[in-house]
């Protein structure tokens, strides 16, 4: 018999990988965004290599935002959310497991795709490594912050836009330190580790706080 947590992770993972799940959609959206930028700013290699990390980060942020609105809403619509309350697993832990599965299904593919898309943006090897490292550390924070927005808008029909408005301002710190650490990887005035460790700290803080905030929102809105 699988443990409740393992079963929940497996279920979320399967749903994300099936047709109509959010797994592949995020990567395709990421690819599209990154491809569009050179058309808008022009094909100047110097400019692209300078703004490349920022483009990759913004695209990763928007791509992960795309999948959030179904995180709890799908469960609320089919009644699973009520039943998740009834399990012996605390709701906070269930939220954390859902976030972990969501990140594994939508965040990890973005990180895998990022170096290939970085090549299109004239990124050097060290810059690519910097972007991958910062995305690896930073995207879990995006997922966890997004979970609060998804939980707060769970009863709002078509709440995707409202959720984006709620979540985007909260992700600004992640974006600032993510981009500055990836830029510091290729040289600059600050060493790589100072913005990178702040990014790590943000993710850890999000890990500690966001499941409680999201579970509180779900409890309150379930009434």
């Amino acid at each position: 018999m699988t443990s409740p947590i393992g079963a929940l992770f497996q279920r979320e993972w399967r749903i994300a990988r099936r047709v109509g799940g959010s797994g592949a959609m995020g990567v395709v959206f990421f690819l599209t965004l990154v491809t569009i930028v050179p058309f808008a700013v022009g094909p100047d290699p110097n400019l692209l290599s300078r703004i490349g990390p920022a483009i990759l980060w913004i695209a990763a942020l928007l791509a992960s935002l795309l999948a959030f609105d179904r995180l709890f809403q799908a469960d609320a619509e089919d009644g699973s959310l009520d039943l998740l309350h009834l399990g012996e697993t605390p709701l906070e832990l269930a939220v954390l497991v859902k976030c972990a599965a969501h990140w594994a299904a939508t965040g990890l593919p973005l990180i895998v795709a990022a170096p290939f898309l970085g090549l299109m943006l004239q990124q050097e090897t060290t810059a690519l490594a910097g972007v991958v490292a910062t995305l690896l550390v930073g995207t879990p924070a995006l997922t966890l912050i997004g979970a609060i927005g998804a939980a707060a808008t769970v009863t709002v029909r078509r709440g995707g836009l409202l959720m984006a408005l709620l979540v985007l301002p909260l992700t600004i710190p992640v974006l600032i330190f993510g981009v500055s650490a990836s830029e510091a990887a290729t040289g600059g005035t600050v060493p790589f580790y100072s913005p990178f460790s702040i990014l790590c700290a943000i993710t850890l803080a999000a890990l500690a706080l966001c499941p409680f905030a999201a579970a509180a929102a779900l409890r309150h809105l379930g009434e």
Binding site: P4, L8, R11, R14, G79, D82, L83, L86, G87
Partner: protein, 233 residues
């Protein structure tokens, strides 16, 4: 202390003894509701409600639309806070909360359309069952009890309304929980399925479980008690 341990040992013996029906173990189970008041959306829906159900019994909650049948079940499942009054569970340990012992079945089935019936039920079996309880049934057996064996590997989304309902009812069987809170369980079921489900409910009562069901239609349980909501109006 020694007395308590002796009692626990006796309980374990009863559990292990092959000839004993399980009814005795849970016969002390009793759901007691006293003076319960619940609001929904800021509007008081239930007030001064008292009743009790014991293990092995079923209670049918009836009443016109909007008299608070669903509200009562949601409050019992711990999904709505009560304004006043008390919901108590006797005959279980102090640390055990009612929601962790209850199955809640409402109009939504709680199943994922993208997954197969088997995957859905495997998940709920793992998520909702407290321990390896022998009264939890394997998925295949639960499905045959509701007459849905052929749909084991079908995606849930491809089932008809009645089949979806039967798959949702099978969830009650794959993880044993002594308290069933059922909100209109018979929706979309044909006659044969209703009879099968009535048999499953009788089995559940025989295993010492209790049922609180809100319904407009007869459940097919002869000995069930009845609670009429909003009768004064």
């Amino acid at each position: 202390m020694a007395l308590r341990r002796g009692f626990l040992y006796w309980l374990v013996l009863m559990e292990k003894s092959p000839h004993r029906p399980h009814a005795e173990v849970h016969s002390a189970l009793r759901l007691k509701v006293e003076n319960l008041a619940v609001a929904r959306g800021g509007r008081p829906v239930l007030a001064g409600l008292s009743f009790s159900v014991s293990g092995g019994e079923a209670l049918v909650v009836t009443g016109r639309n909007g008299t608070g049948k669903s509200t009562l079940l949601r409050a019992l499942a711990g999904l709505l806070p009560s304004l006043s009054g008390e919901v108590r569970l006797e005959g279980v340990g102090d640390a055990v909360e009612l929601p962790q012992l209850a199955h809640y079945l409402a109009h939504a089935d709680g199943m994922k359309a993208a997954l197969t019936v088997e995957e859905n039920l495997d998940f709920w079996a793992a998520y909702l069952s407290s321990a390896a309880d022998r009264r939890s049934r394997p998925v295949a057996q639960a499905l045959s009890m509701v007459g849905l064996s052929h749909a084991l590997r079908a995606p849930f989304g491809a089932l008809s309304a009645g089949q979806k309902r039967r798959a949702a009812l099978a969830r009650l069987l794959v993880a044993f929980r002594p308290i069933w809170l059922l909100d209109e369980p018979l929706t979309a079921l044909d006659r044969a399925s209703r009879e099968k489900f009535a048999a499953a409910m009788r089995d559940h009562c025989a295993l010492g479980g209790l049922i609180v069901a809100a319904t407009h239609e007869p459940l097919g349980l002869e000995e069930a008690g009845e609670l009429v909501l909003g009768g004064a109006k």
